[in-house]
């Protein structure tokens, strides 16, 4: 009896669950005296709420189906603004591009550009073709001559 009491006190005071389980396994679940100190299955049954007490009145379906349809609607809505945002952003970008193009200063070519002309270019006495590249820098002009 005294031994049981000590074990029950140790079980209560023990801070570690594995140790408590050791007390349970070795003594508390097998000793008739100690088992008398714990509620039996019938007492536990009467103290807890059973499915029978709740009965058949629980119907979660209406609220669940409502929620499901709401969720579907929400998802539908979630995609719509995405398209709107995408279209809006594309439009805005296009508009910005147009504005920037019109506002940006035109390239200024020097008024007195070097008037260069290549007459009858030849490579090793063979007639050739000359192509003149005028850069924006008036000091630079490239002349490309290639065989015809």
């Amino acid at each position: 009896m005294r031994h049981c009491k000590i074990i029950r006190i140790l079980f209560k005071l023990c801070p570690f669950i594995p140790w408590r389980y050791a007390f349970l396994e070795r003594h508390l679940l097998h000793c008739p005296d100690c088992l008398r100190k714990a509620a039996d299955i019938e007492e536990a049954r009467s103290a807890t709420i059973s499915k029978v007490q709740i009965g058949e009145r629980m119907d979660f379906w209406p609220a669940f189906s409502n929620r499901l349809s709401l969720k579907a609607k929400k998802e539908e809505k979630r995609f719509r603004p995405l398209w709107r945002w995408a279209a809006g952003t594309a439009g805005l970008l296009a508009l910005t591009g147009v504005i920037l193009m019109t506002l940006s200063p035109k390239a200024e070519f020097p008024d007195q550009a070097v008037k260069l002309r290549v007459n009858n270019p030849k490579i090793y006495d063979e007639p050739a073709q000359a192509i003149i590249f005028q850069t924006q820098d008036p000091n630079w002009t490239f002349v490309w001559v290639e065989k015809r």
Partner: protein, 185 residues
């Protein structure tokens, strides 16, 4: 048990194929059990109903993760148990906040009670004196005939820990019951 599991698996397969009506059957089958579990953990009818609703929705969303080799009931109980524990944590935080608010603003507007009135047919007065883990262990053991291993799988702990929770619940319950008996004598 095996037939039940096969039936559940068929319903779940139907559900995954897009037949939401199959889920209604699952809800009808386990609604009462779910409510009993939630009510035993939360000891409040309204909260239990909300928790069940939420857990059923969560289960539906995660149905593709369900392992058909397992019991649906156990899998669902795990979801429900975690949801109920989250709810208790939130309720505790709200309780702390409410207490602080009441202390700081004693003459403020009347605040809603954190625990609405109970359903008159339920008497979870005993249960409130046990911890949520002890309550669910006691419920699963007494009402559903779960073994230590089954309780452990729902609680997500070792079998030994589940036994400890159960034993503590039984001892507490016994002392409450004997105390009550002495009081009525």
């Amino acid at each position: 048990m095996m037939i039940d599991q096969r039936e559940d698996n068929e319903l779940i397969t139907n559900c995954l194929q897009g037949n939401a009506g199959a889920y209604k059957e699952i809800m009808d089958k386990y609604g009462g059990y779910a409510m009993a579990v939630a009510l035993n953990i939360l000891t409040n009818f309204q909260d239990a109903e909300d928790a069940c609703q939420e857990a059923f929705f969560k289960a539906f969303q995660n149905l593709n993760q369900f392992d058909t080799g397992m019991s649906f009931k156990n899998w669902f109980y795990v979801l429900l148990y975690h949801h109920c524990m989250d709810h208790i944590r939130k309720r505790k935080r709200f309780g702390h906040f409410l207490g602080r608010f009441k202390n700081e603003h004693p003459s403020s507007v009347a605040l809603p009670s954190s625990c609405p009135p109970q359903n008159p047919t339920m008497e979870p007065a005993f249960l409130r004196r046990l911890s949520p883990k002890e309550r669910i262990a006691l419920y699963l053991w007494s009402q559903e005939g779960y073994s230590g291993a089954d309780i452990a799988s729902v609680l997500g702990c070792s079998q030994g820990t589940a036994y400890v929770h159960l034993y503590r619940a039984r001892v507490k319950l016994k002392s409450i019951l004997t105390g009550k008996k002495h009081a009525t004598l």
